[in-house]
Symmetry: C2
Subunit: 263 residues, 2 copies
Amino acid sequence: MKTTKVRFTVAYDGTGYCGWQKQKQEGQISVASLIEKALERVFNEKITLFASGRTDAGVHAFNQVCHFSTHRKLDPAKKWDICWALNSHLPSSIVVKKAWIAPEEFHATISATHKTYRYFILNRPRPSAHLARHMDWVRKPLDIDILQVSTQYLVGNYDFKSFQSVGTPITDTVREVFQADWKWRKPDVLQFTITGDGFLKQMVRNIVGTALMIERRQENPVRMKEILDSMDRRQAGPPAPAAGLYLLRVYYPQDLDKQCIEL
Amino acid sequence: MKTTKVRFTVAYDGTGYCGWQKQKQEGQISVASLIEKALERVFNEKITLFASGRTDAGVHAFNQVCHFSTHRKLDPAKKWDICWALNSHLPSSIVVKKAWIAPEEFHATISATHKTYRYFILNRPRPSAHLARHMDWVRKPLDIDILQVSTQYLVGNYDFKSFQSVGTPITDTVREVFQADWKWRKPDVLQFTITGDGFLKQMVRNIVGTALMIERRQENPVRMKEILDSMDRRQAGPPAPAAGLYLLRVYYPQDLDKQCIEL
């Protein structure tokens, strides 16, 4: 029986979830399990959900990309608001934003060419009660120049072993980082944006944590390059808190994007 | 034994709390009980906490004002960061922002002359996973003119009985509203700011809910005046959700403010 492939983007507030994927421990709720459940209720069939990749416990997404296959016939002309239907079965912390009929070759995980993550830091003397779930907080004024120069050493094709947390079977730790920039988003909010062809376990949080460590110790930013070259996780700083991290965007080949038909 | 009066401002994300004050039901946590506990740990004595007023379950505050008395001697010159000490005993959803030694006549509840509340509405086709705890959400484009004209009928000294929710012993329902304005804060975020000498139970949420009802039904904004004059709660709309409401500022007589010494 012929199936239709559906691609969709979803935003979520990762606070309180065990991450995108189910964990071995019981009693923890994953974002993926709730979306899968919503899909099965709306489509009334067993659904297998695929995403661009996992996010850790407490990490957020503005635009996670997923796909699944359904036996149901979908007609874009009928203007059935599949996002609305899914959102009515999801908690307010998970929002399906847009959906498309995707070509058969599209695969949310395998087709992804690169990803952009963003990290937010509230930088002021007092923390914020309202932003505690959404940003990291650093009390002392940050020197953006040290941060910016340090992460420039990571742009390129390198072995990022120093920035991979333990507990993963992955052995090929070479990745390409295309861009890694710091910017004041507001006078007291700093944002770090990084784009790469793939990221190791906690790689972004380890990079942010290391940049903050170098800044705090007022070290020469070239320390980042020494840590990268050492290929030794113990040289790098501790991971920055999950609350500040967002999966911002996932990129796919243009020809696949063009074949997607919005629902 | 002589005591010192301490005034402080506190911000909180009200989500998940039963409100400012303890409720009769067990198993619910109030914001005030956590602050009182933190004060008792930091000051190592029994503390009674007073605030400008209560906020309902789920309602937030940018600047709630409180006071308490302590037997401890406080010396502003010593630069002891009392806010930092308190925050280290509080969850990240409650942040003490500033503290002062207050004159003996200061009372957070009794001295308050007026208060400003603010209400946020996200107005766009899709909800936000990240703002769900912080704003109400309205799908259809809102007509700010209807909202603005309707709430202008509430500026003045009136009996606001129509906008008082049940379950309060208060019988004097006359209050003065000084200002009540709607404004686009961002292209898709509407904010309502209201200042008055006091507010009845759920009065702000009932006013917002009624304005939204008039807008949705495309009624003449003068309907707000008819509802006010009716002194009948059933004429007004349902209360807007607590998640959108923030206690923004509490005002005290200038001579009391001037006598406060920052800690």
